[in-house]
């Protein structure tokens, strides 16, 4: 099957073992046992989220970034409930909710119905997450623009130092995209399997983590669909990070990465 770019790296047949630290390894129970995601603010930067969808079960808040050529920044931030313009954001939010039933999920709508946006709006969405105390942000979108490499890199670094975990889907098609390939983010691709707690670490980054994203059943604007894409792997990792933070809120970005590395199926 023509898999999303980077997915083949996570195929069990080729996945190399990765050396675990010679320390007492965190167990799944230590990391996620009894965790619900309660108290953790998670942003879904996407096409909007249908708050009423049964797999989403309500939102803690919603903002939409819209083009405004009259404003100096070229956009405006509209606070308040909105709809999902395509279904993509609802799919991502549904996956996170499935793992973290009590998380505070925020919809940060930046994509239009054609799943595209301007670089300035994308950057502003990440800025909104930093400024509004989000702890996790799911980015199942990325930019191919070299022009935005620098600004997005600076934002990703700022998020890292503010302990905002940016969980980014690698692009489905070849070629570098940002911020999904920065060292400061959790870069994710799709792998086979349906166990939401199953993950793998790629010893040959930039894409580091693999999670279910091939033929997965996901929420849509109405009902659900079966879909394949790195877009649906990232929210699995975002959900796990949310669970972990609700139990261990003191962890930093690199510590969370270390825990996920230790829990990867190929860590020896």
């Amino acid at each position: 099957m023509t898999l999303p770019e980077w997915s083949s790296a996570f195929n069990d047949a080729v996945l190399q073992p990765t050396v675990a630290l010679p320390l007492p390894a965190p167990t799944q129970d230590w990391a996620f046992g009894e965790a619900t995601g309660a108290g953790v603010k998670v942003a879904v930067i996407d096409s909007g989220v249908s708050a009423e969808h049964e797999r989403v079960g309500g939102l803690a808040g919603s903002v939409a970034l819209e083009v405004d050529d009259d404003s100096p920044e070229g956009y405006r931030i509209v606070d308040g409930p909105h709809e999902d313009l395509y279904g993509h954001g609802t799919a991502c939010a549904g996956i996170i909710r499935g793992l973290a039933p009590e998380a505070d999920i925020y919809s940060v709508r930046v994509l239009g119905k054609n799943l595209t946006t301007r670089g300035a709006l994308f950057a502003a969405a990440i800025r909104w997450c930093i400024d509004n105390g989000m702890q996790v942000a799911n980015l199942s979108l990325s930019s191919r623009s070299e022009q935005w490499f620098g600004p997005l890199h600076a934002l990703a670094d700022e998020a890292y130092f503010r302990n905002l975990m940016l969980v980014c889907a690698a692009n489905n098609v070849p070629g570098p995209t940002y911020p999904s390939q920065y060292a400061s983010v959790f870069s994710v691709a799709a792998r086979e399997g349906h166990d939401p707690f199953s993950l793998a670490y790629n010893p040959r980054p930039p894409v580091e983590f693999g999670a279910p994203g091939i033929d997965v059943d996901v929420a849509w604007t109405t009902g659900s669909i079966t879909a394949t894409g790195n877009s649906f792997a990232a929210p699995h990792i975002a959900g796990l990070v949310t669970l972990l933070l609700s139990k261990h809120p003191e962890l930093t970005v690199f510590q969370v990465k270390s825990v996920l590395h230790a829990l990867s199926s190929n860590a020896r």
């Binding site: 099957m1 279904g87 054609n114 799943l115 098609v173 070629g175 849509w220 109405t222 669909i225």
Partner: protein, 245 residues
């Protein structure tokens, strides 16, 4: 030799573009038409179609189709967020759907307008070398499929990549003059010079020239008898214009 003015360079670019259209090896529509017929035979499918993403990025347009409903879908544009083809165009991800009837992404109304509503669909992107999605190839109700659809999608994906190369080559021919001028401007390192020329070339409406070039291309494909006839018509038209002038 004096430095060329931007107007002169833009004119050269326009003429180059028209030459490209007139001299390209074959018409893209015909090429994609043959491809959809071949893919339909390969998969023993009810129908196949090939759509390209419009320059705006907001729509896809069906350039060629084969099989049931082909005439109704060819030439049709639709918003990129509609249908299975739109999904593939936006995500760049091949897809196999066994029952489109239960998939909310399926544009049933569009299918009904073609008088054929499929049950299953295979679709793959026309993916350029750099990861750019140029379009989508769709196969409706394929009968010659493998139990594991992965192989079918692999095959369709490979064909999609080949078609992407054809589309890119055709577009390069169509914009031959612009491509050459842009390359020259880039080689001199004069970035603003290149930008100026790009803007000039973009701003000119070349449709009449392009249509004329397309007509010449079609005449060239008709063979010697057709060419002799076309020449006599053209000569008569020129004589008439001269007398009127």
């Amino acid at each position: 030799m004096t430095d060329p003015t931007p107007e002169l360079v833009a004119l050269v670019a326009r003429l180059g573009n028209a030459m490209g259209v007139a001299t390209r090896p074959s018409a893209l529509e015909a090429e994609l038409g043959r491809a959809t017929a071949g893919v339909r035979a390969l998969f023993d499918a009810a129908a196949t179609s090939c759509a390209l993403i419009e320059e705006s990025g907001d729509e896809i347009r069906f350039i060629a189709a084969n099989g049931i409903g082909a005439a109704a879908i060819t030439g049709r544009s639709m918003p990129i967020e509609r249908g299975i083809a739109g999904w593939v165009a936006m995500t760049g991800q091949p897809i196999a759907i066994a029952d489109v009837g239960v998939d909310p992404r399926f544009a049933r109304d569009v299918a009904e307008e073609t008088n054929y509503v499929p049950t299953s669909i295979l679709a793959a992107p026309l993916l350029g070398d750099d990861g750019e999605v140029l379009g989508v190839i769709e196969v409706l109700d394929p009968r010659a499929t493998n139990e594991n659809t992965s192989r079918d999608l692999d095959v369709l994906g490979l064909l999609g990549s080949q078609l992407a190369a054809t589309v890119r080559l055709s577009r390069t021919y169509d914009r031959l003059g612009s491509v050459l001028v842009t390359a020259l401007a880039g080689a001199t390192g004069a970035a603003d010079f290149g930008q100026t020329l790009d803007a000039l070339v973009e701003s000119v409406d070349d449709r009449p020239l392009a249509e004329l070039a397309r007509a010449f291309h079609q005449i060239a494909e008709t063979g010697s008898a057709g060419q002799t006839f076309a020449l006599s018509v053209l000569t008569a038209a020129v004589d008439y214009s001269r007398r009127r002038a």
